[in-house]
């Protein structure tokens, strides 16, 4: 197993966007705007709120975790047997906003503590990596 294996269940996409955080925040949190770039949804920017994203290929069950206006938004993202957390981070720059999305996945039995769960996956893959390095 290669080095990437320990990072297997984390996806990061970052981009500098020429718009202020306030505007991006609206696109991330207003249902009719979210629908235009992501999926149909019944999102509300309220921690604990349960909602789903719906597409022709299926739906994603979500729960809002963190709402810090114009800065951080996090929700769980549960689909295809994997519970994950999607975290949006907005940082103002001189030209607009640095927008970062991280999706971290973990196994269904480890939902209780997000950090602990993330560690669980990484530990699992780290262990396997060490083991598999010795196999053929």
């Amino acid at each position: 197993m290669t080095k990437t294996a320990t990072e297997t269940l984390s996806v990061v996409v970052e981009r500098d966007v020429p718009f202020p955080p306030e505007k991006i925040w609206r696109a991330l949190t207003q249902p009719h705007l979210i629908e235009e770039w992501l999926m149909k949804n019944d999102f509300k920017p309220v921690p604990g709120h349960r909602f789903d994203f719906r597409a022709d290929w299926g739906s994603v069950d979500c729960r809002v975790l963190t709402v810090e206006p114009n800065r951080t938004l996090a929700y769980t993202w549960s689909a295809y047997g994997l519970e994950s957390v999607v975290t949006w981070t907005l940082s103002a720059t001189s030209t607009g906003t640095h927008l970062r999305m991280e999706q971290s996945g973990f196994l269904p039995d480890q939902q209780q503590a997000y950090q602990g769960a993330k560690y669980g996956w990484q530990k699992f893959f780290a262990n396997l990596e060490a083991v598999l390095a010795r196999i053929d």
């Binding site: 197993m1 990437t4 294996a5 990072e7 297997t8 269940l9 984390s10 996806v11 996409v13 981009r15 966007v17 718009f19 505007k23 991006i24 609206r26 696109a27 705007l33 235009e36 770039w37 992501l38 290929w57 689909a79 295809y80 047997g81 994997l82 927008l99 999305m101 999706q103 996945g105 196994l107 269904p108 039995d109 699992f124 262990n127 396997l128 083991v131 598999l132 196999i135």
Partner: protein, 107 residues
């Protein structure tokens, strides 16, 4: 997104099962009896976990006399690596849509 991810996620979600799989990976081919000695659960329970691992393609069995030996098939984890690639592609395209929307939105 094919359901091979889902099978793997569900198969490895059980900590006992995951521990058995890790052990077979770590120590090579093992009998059910040897795995039971360390698993902290009964032999029928271990056999059941091994059957689930086998269905997911994560282990292969080999019968020898009255013993069944299991060995790991780590290549079966490949869909988990694909998951990352697929999700990265998904989010990249959503970022494109988001930027298009931001251009259209009123200030």
């Amino acid at each position: 997104m094919p359901n091979s991810h889902e099978v793997l996620f569900r198969t490895l979600a059980d900590p006992t099962r995951r521990a058995i799989f890790e052990r077979v990976c770590r120590e090579g081919e093992q009998t059910v009896r040897a795995l039971t000695a360390d698993a902290g659960v009964s032999q029928p329970a271990v056999s059941k976990h091994l059957a689930v691992l086998k269905r997911a393609g994560l282990v292969l069995d080999r019968h020898e006399g009255r013993q069944t030996h299991y060995r790991a098939q780590p290549g079966a984890l490949a869909p988990l690596l694909d998951w990352t690639r697929q999700m990265a592609g998904f989010w990249q395209s959503r970022f494109d849509h988001l930027e298009d929307l931001l251009k259209r939105m009123d200030q």
